[in-house]
C-alpha cells in the first residue's frame, strides 16, 4: 500500500520547523520505525531520531505518531488505520532537533523520588525473599522502560514543567510497594506536594500512552491512597 509520511523537522540552531513529506510503498505489517529508517537511508539521511533495540525494550524511539505517543518500533502501519502517517516529537519536552527531545528534565524529575532500592535494615548478607503475592503488588510498575511517552502526554505536565509527572510516580510506586524497601519517608516528601501527586487529575492520557500497558493512573491512585492513609 502507498502511504504519505509527514515528518516534523526542526533546525537545531534556529528552531525553524516544518513538515517534510515522503510517499512510500509499504507493507501494512511494516513498522513505523522501519519505514522511517528506510526514508533516512534512501531519501534524507539528515532526519534525526533516536532508536536502539527496535522491539520495545529500550524506550528510545517514543514519539507522537498520528497524535498519539507511542514507540515507532512497536507501531505497525496497519495499526494506524489510514494512509497518512504524521510523526512529531513528544510534547512538553524541548525539541533539540527534528524528533529528538531533551530528556534531562524527565530524568531530573525521577531523581526527586530517590529512585533506587533502600533496604529496610542494614545491607543484607543474603537475598531478601519475597512471596509471589508481595511481588504482584508492584509487578506492573516494574515494567516501565522510561521512554517518556506517559509524562509527555500529560496536560498537567504540559502546563507545568515542575510537576513530577506519571513516569516518576511509576518509579516511586515500584519502590514504595516493594515489601523489602524502607525508603518511604524520603519519597513521600516529594510526592505529597502540589507539584507531586496532587497535580494529577486522572486524565488517563498516561495509561493510554504507555507502550508497556502499565495501569499508570491506577498506580497513581494507589500512591495517593497510601499517602492519605499514613497521615
Amino acid at each position: 500500500m502507498q502511504v504519505t509520511v509527514e515528518i516534523y523537522r526542526q533546525d537545531a540552531e534556529t528552531g525553524a520547523s516544518r513538515f517534510d513529506t515522503f510517499i512510500r510503498e509499504v507493507d501494512p505489517k511494516d513498522r513505523v520505525l522501519d519505514v522511517m529508517m528506510e526514508i533516512k537511508d534512501q531519501d534524507d539521511g539528515s532526519i534525526a531520531f533516536r532508536k536502539s533495540c527496535g522491539h520495545g525494550v529500550c524506550g528510545s524511539d517514543a514519539m507522537m505518531i498520528n497524535g498519539i505517543n507511542r514507540l515507532a518500533c512497536q507501531t505497525l502501519i496497519q495499526d494506524l488505520k489510514g494512509s497518512l502517517i504524521r510523526i512529531e516529537p513528544l510534547k512538553g519536552l524541548k525539541v533539540l532537533r527534528d524528533l529528538i527531545v531533551d530528556m534531562d528534565p524527565f530524568l531530573a524529575s525521577l531523581q526527586k523520588v530517590t529512585p533506587y532500592f533502600i533496604p529496610k535494615t542494614t545491607a543484607p548478607v543474603r537475598e531478601q525473599k519475597q512471596s509471589i503475592a508481595e511481588r504482584q503488588i508492584f509487578d506492573d510498575t516494574t515494567k516501565c522502560i522510561m521512554c517518556g511517552a506517559c509524562t509527555s502526554s500529560c496536560p498537567s505536565y504540559w502546563s507545568n514543567g515542575e510537576y513530577l509527572g506519571p513516569a516518576t510516580f511509576v518509579k516511586a510506586h515500584r519502590f514504595i510497594f516493594d515489601s523489602r524497601d524502607g525508603g518511604d519517608a524520603e519519597r513521600i516528601e516529594a510526592l505529597d506536594d502540589r507539584d507531586g501527586l496532587w497535580r494529577c487529575h486522572s486524565i488517563f492520557n498516561c495509561t493510554d500512552a504507555c507502550p508497556r500497558d502499565i495501569k499508570i493512573t491506577q498506580a497513581i491512585s494507589e500512591l495517593k491512597r497510601y499517602i492519605v492513609a499514613r497521615r
Partner: protein
Amino acid sequence: MILHTLFEQCLKHEVRFFNEFYVLDMMVDDTACHGVVAYELATGEVQVFQAKAVFFGTGGYGRVFSITSNAHALTGDGMAMAFRRGLPLEDMEFVQFHPTGLRKLGILVSEAARGEGGILRNREDLDNIGSGKDGFMAAVAPTVKDLAPRDMVSRAIYNEIQAGRGIEGSGDTGSDYVYLDLVHLGADVINTKLPDISHFARKYLAVEPITEPIPVQPTAHYAMGGLPTDLDGRVLRDSKNTPVNGLYAAGEVACVSVHGANRLGTNSLVDIVVFGRRAGRDMTRYLKTAELGHIDPEPDAFIRGEIDRLQKGGGQENVATLRIEMQKVMMSRSGVYRNEENLTIARNTILELRERYRQVGVGDQSPYYNTELVEAIELGFLLDVAWTIAESALQRTESRGAHSRVDYPDRDDENWLKHTFITMAGENEVRFDFKPVSITKFQPKPRVY
C-alpha cells in the same frame, strides 16, 4: 530488570553520565590504556577523556548480520576500536545463531517457548499444529527434541529449509522460515508463562499464538568472541596473557571465555553479573596506585580526520547500500553454515566494502545530533568486525560449537583445541596466534542428544 537496577544504583552512587557521547577511539600504548576519544552527539564536538583506567561494556556486533536479535546500537564498536589499535580479538569465528527469531525481524523468541513445550514444524507438518505431536526435531535429537542446543536447532531449521521443507518451500535460508507451534499449550500457559513472547508475536507479526503458529528463523544473537580478558576482566594484549594495564572489559564485548565455542542459554548473565563485578573490583584495586599516563599531543587527530572525510570528502558511496551488502554476505556465507568457498567470498566482499567505505559521504553537515554521521562511523566498525569474523572462520578448518564448516564437519581436537587470536597486520592483512584451551571438569566429547 537488571539494566534498570544498575541504572538506579548508579543514580544512588552519583555516577556521572555522559549521555549520548559516542566513544570512537581508545588511547593505548605498549603498556597501558590512557583514555578514550568520544564524539558528543549534541554538539558535534570531539572530546578527549584522559583516564587511569577504562572499562568497556560496549556489547556485541549483531548488526553485522541481516537477521539479528541485537539492538541497532550493537555495531561492535569496542571490538573494532581495540582491533584498529593493534590489540587482538579472540575466537571471533564463534557466533551464536538463536534458532527462533521472529521472521524477518530477528526479534528473539526465547527458549522459554520451547521450554514450556513449543514445537518446531515444517511445511509437511502443518496438520499437526495444535496436536502436541513431535515435529522435525524428534529425528534430529531424539531425547531432547526441540530443546536441543541452539546451534543444533538453528542448523536443523536450515536443513529443513534447504530440503524445501520450509513453510514457503523456496529453499532459500535468507527468506524462508519454519513455524514455532505453541497452540497445544493453551491460552493460560501462553498468557501467564510466556507474556513477552506472545506480546511480540501479536505486536510485530499480528499472529495470535493461542490459535496460530509463529513464523521463526535463526537470528544472529550472541558473540562468543571479543576482547580477550582474564578472570578479572583485564584486557589481554596477546595469547600469553599479558594484560593491557588499565583496560577492562566485560559482557558480550569480552571473551573470558566461559562460553567456549557456544554459549548456553542465560549464561550471558555470567558475563555481566560475575565478570562485570570482578572487573570493577580489580579496577578499584588498580586505581589506588595508577597514575595518568602519557598521551599523544593530538589523540583525537584520527577521529577528527575520519569525521572530516565523511562529512566534507565529497564521497559518493552510500552508508545504507554498503551496510546491506555486508549484512547479506555475512548472513548467507559466514552464518549458520560455512565452507571455504563461501567464507572466501565473504572475506573478499568485506575487503572490497572496506575499500568502498573510504568513499562514503555523509550529506548532513550539521554538528548537532548528526545521527547520519554516527551511522557512517558505526558502519566502519561493523566492517572491521565482519572482516575478523570471516577471517577467523576461514582459518578454523573444523566444526566446533556454533562454528559449523560443511567442508570440515568434525571436531578436530588434535589441531584445533585452541583459541584464535586475530590481530591486524596491515591494511588488508591479519595475523593469527593461538592459546591453549583450559579444560577443567568437562572434557570435550561428541554432542549426542
